[in-house]
Symmetry: C2
DNA sequence: CTGTTAGCGCCTTCAT
DNA sequence: ATGAAGGCGCTAACAG
């Protein structure tokens, strides 16, 4: 592989001139520039990003640590990050945490050791004390994506989970639902906690009692499925709400286990949802995150943070949309009309 | 950030000793080693991967260039690559080609400039002359994943598309189907070409005529959907076969457009398919790639190639499985029994 | 407008 | 068993 020395020799200039034409970092006589570019052409020279990074002590790369959930919402976020990074000329280094705090730690370390200029933690288990500590001393800024923890000294990007959950429930109660099965999942996860809180807000708004709802929490999807199936023996539960894609899957399985089906004899709505809602049955009412935009927003915040490390941390929440479909709309057609303001 | 110099000073040794305890690359007195590890502990020293890579001229990282299809099969492959890389202590650098030859070129360049030790091109448009040329001179080996081109000087990992397609058609014809709508897509893509060829093999095996089948090719999914819908006016077409996930989506939409439904009045099967086949209707008979294993196989091949650059290129094809579901099994129950040997 | 030079942090002969 | 020193390829003062 050709180096700057080779180019300089052929062009009959110093390596510093080569560097400067390469980076456009100072004026050089058209004629000399010519000789240099010709030499570059001839040798097929390419800058060595490693050496450059070492000297400049910045790599023009950022890291993304993700839990490897195959959920569409997450894939979209990663995609948004990828897109925005490329647009900024940043290389993206990816590491996988598999929803495991330990692996997350190691992933973060790996990326930091590679001297990424900044780090985005998507769906992080960031609450673990260790992580925050280990990040404190680093100069590489960190952005939290999707799971937002209060009182952390990081920029954060998420969605307005609580508010949208409340709007969703307003719609459901307006349609006549009084008692619901809420498959809330692991409420230590901020996103899921916020969604549950918003649902409860909505319940209260409608003058309903929390005690009349069935709320299922926990981390074990198998157990949740079983519990949900038993709960559904109670035919007064007219609607099921899933807190995320895997929770929705467990819920749908439970509905089938209980010998019920949506929307025929129970309504159903979920957060995050599935791809191809137009091709498969049932068509599910879904709260959709602006996942791609969340990814790009994270990159934007990261870049701003790299440029001004000492401004105070910001939290951005993007607005979600409610996509109404058969699973709620074709249950109880006799209910009150749907307000048009909902999406 | 602490460097080896800091550590050496504190431990009262030379930096070369520090290097050697770090890498276990020569014996050092237990006592000195102790002092060094203590100093490392105290300073929170971490190796600078960049400087190390520069000196050793290897980065312990590999690159993965992918088309950003959100298809499950692809996500699985990427996941497999990620997993295997981590297991080998390799960092994974990811770049996205968005199914665009130009972007693919640039992605490859970016990764090569970062001096990855090797490169995996998944779902590559590698046929473009430029790419192959630009790769020829590089010392970083390249593995092609999923789309296999004959006569290319690279290791390649794919699936036994042709053979499995043939088995699938054997099953369908045994079940009584005589005329099919084959949504084959862009047959310049080797994977899709192989699948179509295998389907035609199967047609011939069954003593049927190719002229009685409707074969739709092309890159425009919208157009394919329209053509498929018109074709389905012919009620003698009793089965539709999709060549990939997006082709399946277009096919399913076309079936709906034509006022038909599967499996009620047309059978359906596809390659690659969708997630959550247990939760949604219709449940689709699917040829499934061992996508995860393909990813890990690519990493294995890459590592072997890095270690012995001059052995001749190998092509690995992994066996696919046929997952039989309602979309073919609940059409024409009166047909001949299904051979048990199929999956 | 161009050239010289000192490192960035590390690994690795070559001495001792 | 340990140290000294050169250099990987590049950028950024500093000179001229």
């Amino acid at each position: 592989m050709a180096t700057m020395v080779d180019v300089a020799k052929i062009a009959n200039v110093s390596i510093s001139t080569v560097s400067h034409v390469l980076n456009g970092t100072r004026n050089v006589e058209p004629d000399t520039r010519r000789r240099v570019t010709d030499a570059i052409e001839k040798t097929g020279y390419r800058q060595d990003a490693l050496a450059r990074a070492m000297r400049r002590s910045r790599t023009d790369s950022i890291g993304l640590v993700v839990s490897d959930a195959g959920e569409p919402a997450f894939a979209e976020m990663a995609h948004g990050v990828e897109h925005a990074a490329a647009e900024q000329g940043l290389t993206l280094l990816l590491a996988n945490s598999a929803e495991d705090a330990d692996r997350e730690q190691r992933a973060v370390r790996t990326l930091l050791d590679r001297r990424v200029d900044g780090l985005i933690l998507a769906r992080s288990a960031a609450s673990t004390a260790g992580l925050v500590d280990s990040l404190a001393g680093e100069k590489a800024p960190v952005i939290l994506l999707d799971r937002l923890y209060a009182d952390l000294p990081f920029d954060q990007v998420g969605a307005d989970n609580r508010d949208t959950a409340r709007r969703l429930v307003a719609h459901l109660t307006a349609a006549g639902h009084r008692r619901s099965l809420i498959v809330a999942g692991d409420t230590r996860v901020p996103t899921l906690r916020e969604r549950l809180d918003g649902i409860l807000d909505g319940i209260r708004d409608a003058g309903l009692r929390e005690e009349d709802q069935v709320i299922l929490t926990g981390t074990d999807f198998g157990a949740l499925r079983t519990e949900a199936a038993s709960a559904l023996a109670d035919r007064d539960l007219t609607v099921v709400i899933g807190g995320s894609t895997p929770l929705a899957t467990a819920s749908l399985q439970a509905i089938a286990d209980a010998g019920r089906s949506t929307p025929r004899d129970v309504a159903f709505a979920t957060f995050d949802g599935y791809n191809h809602p137009d091709v498969f049955e049932p068509r599910i009412t879904t709260v959709r995150q602006p996942a791609f935009d969340m990814g790009t927003a994270a990159v934007r915040l990261l870049i701003e943070r790299i440029e001004s490390p000492d401004s105070s941390p910001r939290t951005v929440r993007l607005r979600q949309t409610i996509e109404l479909r058969d699973s709620t709309e074709h249950y109880r057609r006799d209910a009150e009309p749907v307000p048009a303001s909902l999406t």
